[in-house]
């Protein structure tokens, strides 16, 4: 579970942490991804884990479009830039939930016994459900890929440079909108991956995103803004804390542990664990 939180969070870490843009519609991206995965399964019988690349591609387009249509303008605001970003993306989240209700109805849906769902694998005496295990592997790969991408490629450097100083970046011939649109696309694609994996073992309904979005914010902040590795570590910590809390407290209180750990960490280290900002 921790690795999945990490995967949801890493997309957010890219948008929120590396580009310093608040995205309150992140949970809704996840919701859309789960629906895309669901429909690919229902109409074309493509198993969720196989459809993951398709879902990621669809979300890439969505992320880039959202940036070009809304966020680009929100970032131009000279006054209260933060609030404008919060509320324009929050408005977007409401629209997306409304659209989901309109087209998909508020019913709970689930993908019936996926291709390899239900099976478990025994690793050193511990039984793990297969989709979760594959999800964990995909998460690790995605993290490694993103880490490499940000720190080793020109695009990653351009992204960081653009956040630092958009004006100077323009002087050396980098198109800010292009870089950020790609960044948003990439962030959304990662959520798409997470959504495709989760679709195989979670109920899918229009409000599903909300419950994961807050945990994603906490994960990113816990790890520290501006750090991909931080989001990864944050995800694992969140997963472990959740599991431990569930042992001590009633299951309905399991998130309290996550929140308490976040508060504890930022009180001691106000930049999060690995944050640079």
């Amino acid at each position: 579970m921790g690795l999945l939180y990490g995967l949801i969070a890493v997309g957010l870490a890219l948008i929120f942490g590396l580009m310093d843009v608040v995205n309150f519609a992140h949970g809704e991206f996840l919701m859309i991804a789960m629906y895309v995965s669901f429909f690919l399964f229902t109409f074309f019988a493509i198993a969720p884990l196989l459809s993951a690349p398709l879902v990621a591609a669809a979300l890439f387009v969505l992320g880039a479009v959202v940036y070009l249509l809304i966020v680009r303008f929100a970032m131009r605001a000279k006054a209260n830039a933060g609030m404008v970003q919060i509320f324009s993306t929050f408005g977007l989240a409401i629209v997306m939930r409304g659209l989901a209700q309109f087209f998909f109805t508020p019913d709970y849906r689930s993908i019936p016994q996926s291709w390899f769902g239900g099976k478990t694998i025994s690793v050193a005496g511990i039984f793990l459900p297969e989709p979760q295990l594959i999800g964990a592997l995909v998460s690790i790969l995605a993290f490694a890929g993103l880490y490499f991408f940000i720190h080793r490629t020109d695009f990653g450097r351009a992204l960081e440079a653009t956040r630092e100083d958009p004006g100077a970046v323009a002087l050396v011939g980098i198109d800010k909108n292009r870089v950020f649109a790609l960044g948003w696309g990439l962030g959304a694609a990662l959520v798409g991956l997470a959504g495709a994996i989760m679709a195989s073992f979670f109920y899918i309904y229009p409000d599903v995103g909300a419950s994961f979005a807050l945990i994603a914010y906490v994960t990113v902040a816990l790890g520290g803004f501006g750090s991909v590795f931080g989001a990864f570590a944050g995800g694992i910590i969140v997963g472990l804390v959740e599991a431990t809390t569930a042992l001590v407290l009633p299951p309905s209180l399991k998130s309290v542990g996550i929140y308490a750990v976040y508060l504890l960490v930022v009180f001691i280290r106000p930049r999060g664990l690995f944050g640079s900002m």
Binding site: I94, G98, F102, P206, L214, S252, V266
Partner: protein, 327 residues
């Protein structure tokens, strides 16, 4: 203090008095219970948003966890009333004091945090409060509390037959929140807050006690919001954790101020006057289908307004005003 500023403040006070007087007459013309309901909610959100604005607008500490104080106000009042028979009026003030104390207790560690870390911490603390109340059996857990009917009286602040007393209380609360803001704007605190918002380091070096300023703003803000919570509980006669402490509430408190103009005297009132009727009307006229069309319309409007007027609706007025001033 320059003359323009004093004159503007006096004018603001007069406008507010006239508006309040006009609003007080409104029930003479509005007999429809549905419309009265919308008016009450509008006034309540204006009051809440005005209170939120003190901490987040003037002092610049963006809180998205004010639902916590709202819920504390509501729960203190109702627990005291249903379990110990304490009159809601005492519960209301008690809830306000408890909320202010909690705000200061939380402020002690929280105000060291900056930016996103602070905002997320406020969301998280409200969420912890929500989860605790949902699991607190004695306080009704997720089922909430139904307030027993004891007949209409001002003493018990309960009215079944008419909504008018609620209307006048909401108007009073809104006026109070506005007046407190107006008064603070010109006080030492008001100037300190704006200095803290603009540049905390510079303010500190000029002798502003940054930490105490934030604490003061948090306490006033939480106190007023908790009173609003107590009112809402009496008004609905039923509370449950999700409906008084949910995250949506924190956003609904912030939204009018942001749309109207954050950190301005008139922003929250203006924002609430437009936003709340809009919310209610879209919900009841196109939300009936249950297919989310109201959400689509509502969300689109929020996106458009926040993109088109980043400084809020108040900026429309000040633009024409500043033109007049330069002439």
């Amino acid at each position: 203090m320059d003359k323009n500023f004093t004159a503007r403040r006096r004018r603001d006070l007069i406008i507010a008095a006239v508006l309040a007087a006009l609003a007080a007459l409104a029930p003479l013309f509005v007999r429809d219970v549905y419309v009265q309901n919308i008016l009450i909610l509008t006034l309540m959100y204006a009051a809440l948003s005005q209170s939120w604005n003190i901490l987040s607008g003037y002092c610049g500490q963006i809180s998205l966890g004010h639902a916590l104080y709202f819920g504390i106000g509501a729960y203190t009042t109702e627990l005291l009333f249903t379990k110990f028979g304490v009159l809601p009026w005492f519960g209301m003030v008690g809830g306000g004091v408890i909320a202010a104390l909690i705000a200061m207790g939380l402020g002690y560690p929280f105000f060291r945090l900056r930016g996103h870390y602070f905002v997320i911490a406020t969301i998280v603390i409200a969420e912890i409060g929500l989860l605790l109340f949902q699991n607190w059996e004695w306080a009704g857990a997720a089922m909430g509390i139904t307030i027993p009917v004891r007949g209409d009286s001002w003493l018990k602040f309960q009215f079944m037959r008419s909504k008018l007393p609620y209307f006048y209380f909401a108007l009073g609360l809104c006026s109070l929140a506005w007046f407190v803001t107006w008064w603070l704007e010109d006080s030492k605190w008001g100037f300190w807050w704006r200095a803290v918002k603009d540049n905390p380091e510079a303010a500190e070096s000029l002798g502003v006690v940054v930490f105490n300023s934030k604490m003061g703003a948090a306490a006033v803000s939480a106190f007023l919001v908790a009173i609003g919570g107590a009112f809402y509980a009496q008004f609905l006669a039923y509370i449950d954790p999700e409906s008084v402490m949910g995250f949506q509430f924190s956003l609904l408190m912030a939204l009018p101020a942001v749309l109207g103009g954050i950190g301005t005297l008139w922003g929250p009132v203006l924002g609430a006057a437009i936003l709340i009727p809009m919310t209610e009307l879209t919900r009841s006229y196109i939300g009936g289908s249950g297919r989310g069309v109201d959400l689509i319309v509502y969300g689109t409007l929020i996106v458009l307004i926040s993109l088109a007027l980043p400084q809020g609706l108040v900026s429309l007025f000040s633009r024409t005003k500043s033109k007049g001033a330069t002439r």
